[in-house]
């Protein structure tokens, strides 16, 4: 699924990565707990999260995630946004809840990330 499809599906505001909307995404990991993301999200995954702190973007950076959707109308902290822009990491905002966002993505064919052992 292209990032631009995710943007329109979840009516996202694009805070970072406007020029990366052609990016293809094939799986998704949703969590507020960054240790869970670091333990289980495969590289290239879309991160769906309610965590607005700078650790959310650092997590995506160290785990090689493709993009971040911040749910429930939350705004990222300033350092988080600055870091996402600096590292060219797409950061999207949606007013949808975590559940609504994930179920829409799933209905449109995005699969969940397989848990690594």
């Amino acid at each position: 699924m292209q990032l631009r499809h995710i943007v329109s599906l979840l009516t996202c505001e694009i805070l970072s990565g406007e020029d990366l909307l052609d990016l293809g995404i094939d799986c998704c990991f949703a969590a507020d707990l960054m240790s869970d993301v670091l333990a289980s999200a495969p590289n290239g995954a879309l991160l769906v999260t309610g965590l607005a702190s700078s650790q959310m973007v650092h997590t995506a950076e160290v785990a090689d995630l493709a993009a971040i959707v911040l749910v429930a109308g939350k705004r990222p902290e300033n350092e988080a946004l600055a870091f996402a822009r600096q590292r060219k990491l797409p950061l999207l905002l949606t007013g949808l809840s975590m559940f609504e966002a994930c179920s829409l993505l799933s209905q449109h064919g995005l699969r969940g990330a397989v848990r690594k052992e």
Binding site: D32, L33, M34, S35, D36, L38, A39, N43, T49, L51, S53, S54, Q55, M56, V57, H58, T59, E61, V62, A63, D64, E77, E79, F83, R87
Partner: protein
């Protein structure tokens, strides 16, 4: 650490500095990318570094994270000044944590950090001295070796 490293660099980490927590891991990632290491090696080291860095931010006063580059492995040591870990076996279990609600609100403190570091590294060692601090040493091999098991 008996052999000479090809390159080494030390990064300071400040305790309680949540705003910056993760910056060292991302700076080290950029360094590892410059060294042209395989993507998977960079990812595993970066995850370990980030968890180690957040532990310093959450539990210790200050630390240095040192990266040592060898021909066949990257070694990292994180030496902190802080309370130390009273019971290392307990702390190594998944889900065991003394984190506060405020720490969990930043996405950490589920008791997965040390297990995450161990899982992502080929060598791993924790030492603690009560009231003095904690030292983590870990390494990721950069040339493929047969895995046991």
């Amino acid at each position: 650490m008996d052999r000479d490293s090809l390159y080494r660099e030390t990064f300071p980490i400040k305790g309680d500095d949540f705003e910056r927590g993760g910056e060292v891991a991302t700076r080290v990632k950029a360094l590892l990318q410059q060294l042209g290491l395989p993507r998977d090696v960079i990812r595993r080291l970066s995850i370990a570094n980030f968890e180690a860095e957040m532990n310093v931010v959450m539990y210790a006063r200050e630390a240095t994270l040192e990266v040592l580059v060898f021909p066949d492995l990257i070694r990292v040591q994180v030496v902190d000044r802080g309370p130390g870990i009273a019971d290392i076996d307990w702390a190594m279990q998944e889900g065991h944590s003394t984190a506060t609600e405020a720490m969990r609100a930043r996405g950490f403190g589920a008791g997965l950090g040390l297990p995450n570091i161990q899982r992502n590294t080929d060598e791993f060692e924790v030492k603690s001295d009560a009231g003095v601090g904690t030292t983590l040493r870990y390494a990721v091999h950069t040339t493929p070796r047969p895995k046991e098991g």
